[in-house]
Subunit: 184 residues, 2 copies
DNA sequence: CTACACATGTAAGCAGTTACATGATTTT
DNA sequence: AAAATCATGTAACTGCTTACATGTGTAG
């Protein structure tokens, strides 16, 4: 299992719809757990069938209706069990880094352009995450938040995501400059 | 395809055996491309069958023999084509980060212990990568190396790996401290 | 009346995981 | 004589990717 626990974690203390989860996994969680939108719906159905989640129809005005999911007691137990299990090896797969590794086989300018584009994307993602983190703090100092808030999980993980995207942006810009600096 | 191009990149200007590649993917490349040892052998066989690599038996004394692989012209062309292709979305999957997200469902001490353990592992990996990078420089300044070396790819990618592991180590230590700081 | 955001799925195919399997050589 | 490192695979299963499919409501 895999995506399973990421979904349970995302639903730990709130109800979210499949669509809201696709947004979360695209923007907020993608720096440490990747999942395609279609797969989320498939996995949500399985989790409901397995009794780890329950879905509830929510009628909306001005929008299509949606189904929100909530953790069951069994789901919470399963999540707790997961936190005690041994970690599977971290899996990272990034085409752009492989391309950087293969720089000698690439057109330096084309590669630099890709790096600069990614740098901008990562910078934007880092800024988005910084905003989300500030919202969580809600004016409190980090120390106060970390010692008093109920659930600091999203803040902890969000910080890692922000760091990751920031460093990615910096590295991409540096690598692009290095490649451009080699042009005659 | 996927692992395919990571292997071609690793063999860009050198011959390596399957076993040497497992070590490289475990230590040097794991921060941006994950692959299990078994899968490498499977993929190497496919790449050879497809004519992108050629394998040569190397008789060794004091060790079992090995087969080293070399890029063919077709393989190099394929790698160059890859550097121009559109990137698939970066895929990251890290159990430990999901556990951090689910902190509220976890035993704080047990989670902190896992984070501290990972911090040490990442620190060690960062140091190993720093050594490898220093070897590549071979006494030269970074600027000199980047402007004059033949193939700067492994240096560029290695730097990203070092940054990643260092930041991971820092974050894990910080997150563990935050969790421990909440204990009465 | 077109484009965009919201909203949710199904189905085929395969890349990658998990488990199993083997053997040489050096070091302790 | 055991443990560690070197060295290379096979086979079953499945989680995930890729491609396809559909429909509502808002904004320009």
């Amino acid at each position: 299992m895999a995506l399973r626990h990421a979904l349970l974690a995302a639903l730990l203390d709130r109800e979210l719809s499949g669509y809201q989860l696709t947004k979360l996994f695209d923007l907020g969680v993608s720096s440490f757990w990747h999942a395609a939108a279609q797969q989320l719906y498939v996995e949500l159905a399985k989790l409901e069938a397995d009794g780890l989640l329950t879905g509830h129809e929510v009628v909306q005005q001005g929008r299509p209706n949606k189904r929100v999911f909530r953790l069951t007691d069994t789901g919470l137990e399963e999540l707790t069990r997961f936190t005690l299990s041994t970690n599977k090896p971290t899996s990272i797969r990034d085409d752009l880094l492989v391309k950087a590794y293969a720089a000698a086989a690439a057109d330096p300018v084309k590669l630099a352009e890709q790096l600069e584009q990614r740098s901008a994307q990562s910078r934007a993602k880092a800024e988005y995450l910084a905003e989300q983190l500030a919202k969580l703090l809600g004016g409190r100092s980090e120390h106060e938040y970390l010692t008093t808030a109920d659930n600091i999980g999203p803040y902890l993980a969000g910080m890692r995501g922000r760091m990751y995207e920031e460093e990615q942006a910096n590295w991409c810009a540096w690598a692009a400059a290095a490649l451009r600096g080699r042009m005659t």
